[in-house]
């Protein structure tokens, strides 16, 4: 999850990195148990856990340690919950392909069953956010309220049209089009990488459902005004005017002033 190669100006960064292991084991565990009405996942069978452990040892333990207790290279996974595993592995962010400012989305390396087994194993290590209730990801909430919550809590990083945006030092908030409702829910709940955690005490499950509804609504309806030009705002509009608009106009002026043969 955390990259070592990332340059930091801050002297505290080294300390922060070392504290990270502690922070995520101890603090997240206690936090999760108090705030996220954490419960040990009961939907997983013992076979899932065993299979997950095998996958974990083969694919994840190099960085996260044999017992998922973390290492200087990667945080502990005790208490991160099934939701975090499903998000990180399901979107292909984990296992990380290379060190970079942040883990990037790529085609998932594990299929749904394997992802579920990994989630079962990590969930068995300590209580954390579980997989979301399907009723909360059905996109049948209140789009207006979701839009309001989205603009207050999400738009500053992900852009008002969910087109993504830049963070410091090469990190970025990805565009949200095409991300499944379940993964969006899990991201809010677990706060992957530099994204803050939006626990149920901050945005209620119904609020998260509304946000998902809003995102699905705007993605599905498209823009009433035609092609969106990336949804990036005035920069893409200005660029389009200078390149395409003025380009066509100049082509016309050349035709207009040329002599007919």
């Amino acid at each position: 999850m955390k990259s070592l190669s990332q340059k930091r100006r801050h002297p505290l960064a080294v300390v922060a990195l070392l504290v990270m292991g502690l922070l995520l084991t101890g603090a997240l565990y206690s936090v999760a148990s108090s705030a996220n009405k954490a419960k040990a996942d009961t939907g997983f069978s013992a076979a899932d856990v065993t299979a997950g452990q095998k996958l974990f040892v083969a694919n994840c333990a190099t960085c996260h340690g044999m017992g998922a207790q973390g290492s200087p290279a990667a945080p502990s996974l005790v208490g991160v919950g099934a939701a975090a595993v499903d998000f990180q592995v399901g979107t292909g962010r984990m296992p990380m392909a290379a060190n970079g400012p942040q883990a990037e989305q790529k085609p998932a390396q594990f299929n749904d069953t394997q992802t579920r087994q990994l989630a079962a194993y990590v969930a068995s290590l300590g209580a954390g956010p579980s997989l979301p209730d399907p009723a909360m990801t059905d996109g049948q909430g209140d789009a207006t309220h979701g839009g309001e919550l989205f603009r207050v809590n999400c738009a500053m990083c992900h852009n008002a049209a969910a087109a993504g945006g830049a963070l410091t030092r090469g990190k970025f908030a990805p565009p949200l089009a095409g991300v499944t409702a379940q993964h969006i829910y899990e991201a809010m709940e677990t706060g992957p990488q530099n994204m803050p955690v939006f626990s149920d005490a901050n945005i209620s499950p119904e609020g998260k459902r509304d946000i998902i509804t809003y995102l699905q609504t705007i993605e599905k309806q498209g823009s009433p005004g035609g092609a969106e030009l990336g949804g990036l705002g005035p920069v893409s509009e200005g660029l389009f005017m200078w390149v395409a608009g003025l380009g066509v106009i100049i082509a016309f002026t050349i035709w207009l002033t040329s002599r007919t043969s």
């Binding site: 955390k2 930091r8 100006r9 801050h10 505290l12 960064a13 300390v15 922060a16 504290v19 990270m20 922070l23 603090a27 997240l28 936090v31 999760a32 108090s34 705030a35 996220n36 309001e148 919550l149 207050v152 809590n153 500053m156 990083c157 945006g165 963070l167 410091t168 990190k171 706060g191 990488q193 530099n194 994204m195 803050p196 955690v197 939006f198 626990s199 005490a201 901050n202 309806q221 498209g222 823009s223 009433p224 005004g225 035609g226 035709w255 207009l256 002599r259 007919t260 043969s261």
Partner: protein
């Protein structure tokens, strides 16, 4: 190239040109006229005529499509985005065809069928020396007839009167707004002056109070003062000063300077969300690096060092809101901000 029409040859410039040693080329004149296909071949001319007509007919079709789609598709409070988009595309493209048909038709007509002989027209002097002399004389005469030079009292009182005349306008402009810089210092976070009741931190936009236990490590709450949503007037004015970002860090990560030991609670800190640069909401919180980033001009603040500026155009740290927990476990503001929030201004004093 000479000095064709300056009218003042003595100021013709003293440009030192070169290359004259071997003489200059003589102007061969406008190149001979080249006939177009449509000038010589009646078939080509007929073809051009048909093309122009076709373009005008395209324009007519465009106009008809516009009218049809305008009346066929009605919009109202129940229109769907699909309907709106369809109408926009139909109206826009039909207008485009109507206009481009006329435009390209006329231009094609001019290019292929109208005479295309280049002609030369002589330039005339921008001014006429006689006119100038006459004009100067008239102005001189007018000034003389007013007697303004001979009667300085009239001139001076007129200047005085004209200089004072705009003052009422300035006075009127003074009514555009109050100049009350002290309102910039106060926000809704100050405890009630009578009861001393401290203001609770509530969630933006819903206005529900926040317990300290709700704020888990790594989370970020967007916060407004309790009662903001109930304001009847000036709600946006108050909100523009009072919005706060609430985060919880591991207490060991916080570097607290003397005097601020009681401003945070168990690693929970609250900072003004209004950038000290030019006032955008600094809302981007990176929970691993503990940086706050402003999306407008990229000022970056280090949360672990009391929001000192570590990058970008801002000069001052974000103001911190002192917080504590009330008897019910909810977060409240101990006092107002200790300094004005937002961008700097002339009358702002350092706290």
């Amino acid at each position: 190239m000479g000095n064709p029409s300056d009218g003042a040859p003595q100021h013709g410039g003293t440009v030192a040109t070169a290359g004259q040693a071997g003489g200059v080329f003589e102007d061969p004149g406008i190149p001979p006229h080249r006939l177009r296909l449509s000038d010589t071949d009646p078939k080509a001319a007929k073809r051009a005529e048909r093309q122009v007509t076709a373009l005008f007919i395209i324009s007519v079709i465009g106009t008809v499509v516009f009218l049809v789609s305008y009346f066929a598709i009605d919009l109202g409070p129940t229109s769907t985005v699909d309907t709106i988009r369809t109408q926009n595309i139909l109206l826009g493209l039909s207008t485009a065809f109507a206009m481009l048909g006329i435009g390209t038709g006329i231009v094609h007509w001019a290019k292929s069928l109208m005479p295309d002989h280049e002609v030369s027209e002589a330039r005339h002097a921008v001014r006429n020396e006689d006119d100038r002399q006459a004009a100067v004389k008239i102005v001189d005469d007018i000034i003389e007839e007013t007697g303004i030079k001979r009667r300085p009292l009239i001139r001076n009182t007129l200047i005085g009167a004209l200089a004072l005349a705009p003052l009422p306008a300035l006075a009127v402009f003074g009514d555009l707004g109050p100049n009350a810089t002290d309102i910039l210092r106060h926000t809704m976070w100050a405890p009630n002056a009578q009861t001393g009741k401290k203001v609770r931190l509530t969630r933006d936009p819903d206005g529900t109070p926040i317990r300290a236990a709700d704020v888990t490590i790594g989370s970020a709450f967007h916060v407004i003062p309790e009662g903001l949503n109930d304001l009847k007037e000036n709600r946006n004015n108050e909100k523009a000063k009072a919005v706060v970002l609430l985060m919880r860090l591991n207490p060991e990560d916080l570097h607290i300077s003397p005097g601020r030991e009681t401003w945070s609670y168990n690693g929970i800190v609250a900072y003004s969300k209004i950038c000290t640069h030019v006032g955008c909401p600094v809302a981007l919180y990176e929970q691993q690096t503990h940086h706050l980033l402003c999306p407008c001009h990229q000022s970056t603040f280090d949360l672990t060092h009391e929001c000192q500026v570590i990058f970008g155009p801002a000069s001052r740290p974000l103001p911190q809101l002192p917080i504590e927990v009330d008897s019910d476990g909810y977060l409240v503001a101990t006092s107002d901000f200790h300094e004005p929030v937002g961008p700097s201004y002339w009358e702002r004093e350092y706290s």
